[in-house]
Symmetry: C2
Subunit: 377 residues, 2 copies
């Protein structure tokens, strides 16, 4: 893959801070473009291949094996490539894990974890909040000792990174009932998967919508420990079944073949161009540190999150004078800094610094912010 | 859009008869390629746009309005762009239509209609076969008088075109209970939607996986009459809800944005390059007539389907001597005629002649078949 993916951008490409669907590496898009009409001389596009064709199966298997290598996924975990985004997993998780009884337990830390809880509740009722940061306005995640599961907990669900709030866990919770027995830990990792190394062995189920650090929207990756495949409810839509997806190599029906291929290109870029998740972690830390430092050094900008839980991927900030918001957004866009508007539910600004956002983009943003402050402060 | 989409192929593109994911118009892929790194000078790819961005919403709305125009969809129908393929709709349809009680009724004509029935049965039991072509080996669809609904029918489901069997309805069934009262007609149109004009007003629900005549795999289009939005079961996964999808403009969560965009390019190609579904219908009829004529004129090739129900989209055929199958497939592939192998469940050959398969491809196939017969007959 060409080497300009995370470095300078080609002249036509602007800096894209979108929260999702998010920026993809330029090198990945260049390769997709070059292969779009004719994949490796086969005379057709990847989009036009049967998912059963040997060439496509090789693409799919390479993507899985690269993802396994990047995250060092243990052999007793299945990797599934399915559809419907994280929101579909809000339903699929309880369908797959509540078949042997028990209650879903949740740590709620903002909009996305509450949505996951609401869907489990809508379907099966009786969900339990094991801990919440609601009392502090979701600016700091609950500490480990504050997470108290119910005696009948079937699993504990949490959201590693709240994309809208910009709140990220600084630790992996322990999922134990009051009697000390383990329950599976389930994590929505949509907006921080692949941002750095991860100890997958701590988890029962990990799921992640692709449209932040994996690939285009419409794909969701599920990583599930194989001893959990027998806990499903019988009344589940067939496509939700982790067991059935696993048995079929994620091909119960036609998968999102092109999105899967693009995810594979992103995995390859992470391995070959970036050098793996250790290297990615360092770059991401540097990017986030730089932006938070700029925010903290000024009274003009502010971010409300406790330092320990500041998200490396999504940095919301507000201007001291919100009447300047429109001007900030218009001028930043004119300067080639795209999609800095905060989520409609919270307003202000948000800069998402996913893997594909190069350090040069953060430098340009920090420079713009300083200049804007000087002109308007 | 460039005009070589349905005419000659560019030298690098072979003739692709895949049943799905299937051929896309070369002109569509060329445009996607040209726009891949920078959409209309905005400095980012369509894949990298927020689904809430004005530019993306314009893409999504244009796709819907072009589809409405192509199919002359009446104003009292909602058009939804969702995920999970037709297989997810096998579950979503009963969830959406059985909330007021009653039984799902099915016409079964092969593998796909039986899968739709099996999923409804798996979820809610008690599905009824209103008619079946099983007795004739699925070579002719039931006649209208043979379709007998139950007194408590909630809807009648059928599969307009069986992709594997190559069996296509020559009429739109009447969906009436024995007492003469109407029930909604539900149709899986995955493999024949947009192959010609359609009277949408005859249907309650139409759904179609994209990966044949619409776009890439991972997208499914649902067209639903608005008076049916209030019949849903309460225990439905939120993403399945036609009402919720309709209220949110298909954006309950992040949709498959890039697939939706590509579908829009296909709709534009159908309108502007082909001239609409009337013109497409004539081309498709000519393509199918030519291939069936070649099969019928020879004792070397045969197709078992009753002439009235021969699919225009999927033409299965066998060689009189199946020991020649491997040679046929190897030589056709070497001649640039790709993916002619029949479905693994039936063997033999299958040529899918979807909209994006140009007449030149059929000519090349017919010529190859005659030549192969001469050398091996």
């Amino acid at each position: 893959m060409s080497k300009n993916g995370n470095g300078g951008l080609s002249p036509i490409r602007h800096h894209n801070f979108c929260a999702g669907p998010a920026a993809l590496p330029t090198a990945v898009l260049e390769r997709a473009r070059d292969e779009l009409l004719d994949y490796h001389g086969l005379g057709l596009s990847v989009m036009e291949m049967s998912h059963r064709a040997a060439e496509y199966v090789a693409i799919a298997e390479k993507a899985e094996s690269d993802l396994r290598e990047l995250l060092a996924i243990p052999a007793n975990y299945k990797v599934l490539f399915t559809q419907g985004g994280a929101t579909q997993q809000f339903a699929a998780v309880p369908f797959n894990l509540l078949g042997a009884g028990g209650r879903a337990n949740f740590v709620t830390t903002g909009i996305w974890s509450n949505k996951a809880l609401a869907e489990a509740d809508h379907l099966f009722g009786d969900s339990r909040v094991a801990a919440s940061s609601e009392a502090n306005g979701h600016v700091a995640v609950p500490r480990p000792r504050d997470i108290v599961l119910s005696d009948d907990a079937a699993y504990l669900h949490y959201t590693a990174n709240e994309t809208i709030g910009g709140l990220e866990f600084d630790y992996i919770p322990d999922a134990r009932r009051p009697d000390g027995s383990d329950v599976p830990l389930v994590c929505d990792l949509s907006s921080s998967i692949l941002s750095g190394p991860l100890d997958v062995s701590k988890f029962g189920v990990i799921y992640a919508g692709a449209q932040k650090n994996i690939g285009p929207a419409g794909l969701v990756v599920v990583i599930v420990r194989d001893d959990l495949l027998d806990r499903a409810r019988d009344d589940m839509p067939s496509l939700f079944s982790y067991q059935a997806l696993s048995d079929a190599g994620s091909m119960i029906n036609t998968p999102a073949t092109y999105s899967w291929y693009l995810a594979g290109l992103v995995f390859e870029w992470l391995k070959d161009d970036i050098g793996g998740l250790g290297a990615m972690d360092i770059i991401n830390q540097r990017k986030a540190d730089k932006l938070y430092a700029a925010i903290d050094a000024s009274d003009f900008y502010s971010n409300p999150i406790a330092p320990l839980n500041r998200s490396r991927m999504n940095v919301p900030f507000v201007l001291a004078d919100s009447r300047l918001d429109k001007r900030f957004l218009a001028e930043s866009e004119a300067a080639g800094l795209l999609n800095l508007k905060g989520h409609r539910s919270v307003g202000g600004m948000r800069a998402s610094l996913y893997n594909a956002v190069p350090e040069a983009a953060v430098n340009a943003l920090v420079d713009f912010m300083a200049d804007f402050e000087q002109r308007n402060g």
